[in-house]
């Protein structure tokens, strides 16, 4: 698949996601209307729309807020900014995304923004303290390729809609639970509606998670192509695998944004017991991602990881 095909297939997926969520939303509103009151269904739908529009408009700063990403000053961390510039030139992006810093000991990075021109890349200070230049470049290229592939757009849409679904389901659930007497339909329909309201947020979550897992493989491959160095990406993932610090501001709602899953690191261990839980992972296991890179690039990483000077030393941060 060429890059343009990927981008188009991603745009297509985005519209499917939007359509799917819209459908889910209509069904929920319909359920509310059916069980309780038609006007209540309309009100719920209106609330959902307003919420969605507001969330989309504010998504940029909301994500910055949730991840605690700080914008940098004019000349601050110039060498790091140059890595971002070079990765975006290598990716053929028309503009270099803004760079933001997350003060956190866990090594991780993320990308956000609806359009490439308005996107930004966030890296944690822990990442700078862990990764040598070559691997840091690979992680940045991974984020840049999320932006280039329009993954950030797709995932922002998915996140916002998942939030809306949860909100509507909650409204429906509460109206049934507390508005008992105004019920119109009886028995079976009510039970169905309740089940629907309970399951809908999970359906939304599932859709969102399955989307983001595939994206990770694509972004890894993209980073390998941008730098023409698949080994750097694999090494970076290996280094993340060996690190066990978790991010402080980890939040399920932003989990899919990061290069390595910030929350579900225990999932790989409990997979045997609860195989279903892997459906809810935002990221494939790091080992699988390394394996995919090795296969595509035709190389094998040696055991262990070379001890190298982290980039933070070059930046004078250590």
């Amino acid at each position: 698949m060429t890059l343009q095909q990927q981008i188009r297939s991603n745009r297509f997926r985005s519209s499917i996601v939007v359509l799917g969520f819209a459908l889910l939303l209509l069904v929920l509103a319909g359920l509310i209307g059916l069980v309780l009151d038609l006007s209540l269904g309309a009100v719920a739908l209106a609330i959902a729309l307003v919420y969605a529009i507001f969330a989309l408009l504010r998504s940029r700063s909301m994500i910055a807020g949730m991840t605690h990403a700080q914008p940098l000053g004019e000349k601050e961390l110039e060498p790091l900014r140059r890595l971002v510039e070079n990765a975006s030139i290598g990716a053929g992006l028309p503009v270099t995304p803004e760079l933001r810093l997350v003060d956190d000991a866990a090594p991780n990075a993320f990308a956000a923004g609806l359009r490439p021109e308005k996107s930004y890349v966030g890296v944690t200070t822990g990442l700078l303290r862990t990764m040598p230049k070559r691997e840091l470049e690979a992680v940045i290229a991974h984020e840049i390729s999320h932006i280039r592939n329009r993954d950030t757009y797709l995932m922002t849409m998915a996140t916002v809609f998942a939030g809306v679904i949860a909100l509507i389901a909650d409204i429906g659930f509460r109206s049934i639970a507390y508005g008992g007497r105004s019920r119109k339909a009886g028995g079976l329909v009510v039970v169905l509606a309740i089940v629907g309201f309970i399951l809908a947020p999970y359906a939304a979550l599932l859709l969102r998670m399955s989307l983001s897992r595939r994206r990770e493989y694509l972004a890894d491959a993209g980073a390998a192509e941008i730098l023409n160095d698949p080994e750097a990406m694999a090494l970076a993932l290996r280094r993340l695998e060996l690190d066990s610090t978790t991010i402080r501001y980890a939040d399920a709602s932003t989990a899919h944004l990061w290069v390595e899953s910030p929350t579900d690191r225990v999932d790989s261990e409990r997979r045997g017991v609860l195989a279903l839980s892997s459906l809810f992972n935002t990221h494939p296991a790091l080992a699988d991602r390394i394996e995919a890179l090795q296969e595509a690039g035709g190389f094998r990483l040696p055991e262990g990881i070379p001890a190298e000077q982290p980039f933070a030393a070059e930046l004078g941060l250590m």
Binding site: Q4, E85, N86, G92, G222, N228, A296
Partner: protein
């Protein structure tokens, strides 16, 4: 009547396929052009840094005229290069000439420590990194474009439509090309 409908149907399908394919080729060609513009910007930036660098070194080593001439000539060659291949060669030539200039600078500790010189050196390194990043992107767009017009059916009709193979940005004797494309695992 049936055969008429079949002919019309085939013609319509053919027209649609051709239109879509043609648009794809145009898009790929535009990508190559954008990719080239990215390299060009950085090459210009590199050429623009040279006069200041030469002046900075001349201030300490005015007698090294041969080296300055060589660098100036290499810069002019880069500015007048007409094709991507020629530009890559000229860029390589400039790298060699600059290597000599920096070797001269080695002998002057005052020069090497001067703020101006350090800044120029850093800018130059940055530009070189950016040229290699832009080159990776450009060469991958060229590869996609060339592959597209060399495959059937475009092999037969690309030339009459004005699509010609694009040149890689690679100096002669450069074996690092073309790069591997990493198809993602699904």
């Amino acid at each position: 009547m049936l055969w008429l409908w079949i002919v019309v149907g085939v013609a319509v399908v053919l027209a649609v396929v051709l239109t879509l394919g043609y648009n794809r080729l145009v898009r790929l060609r535009n990508e190559v052009e954008t990719g080239w513009a990215n390299i060009d910007v950085q090459l210009k930036r590199r050429a623009d840094l040279i006069p200041n660098l030469v002046e900075a070194v001349r201030g300490y080593a005015a007698h090294e005229r041969g080296v300055f001439d060589e660098v100036t000539k290499a810069r002019a060659a880069l500015q007048h290069a007409g094709t991507p291949g020629a530009a890559a060669d000229a860029n390589e030539g400039l790298t060699v000439a600059l290597g000599r200039l920096f070797a001269v600078a080695e002998a002057y500790p005052d020069l090497k420590a001067s703020e101006n010189f350090l800044q120029l050196q850093e800018d130059l390194t940055d530009t070189e990194d950016k040229i290699s990043a832009a080159r990776r992107y450009y060469n991958s767009t060229v590869m996609h474009f060339n592959t597209a017009i060399q495959s059937i059916p475009w092999l037969l009709i690309a030339k009459p439509l004005g699509f010609r193979d694009k040149e890689f940005f690679s100096a002669q004797g450069d074996t690092a090309l073309p790069q591997v494309s990493f198809s993602p695992a699904t």
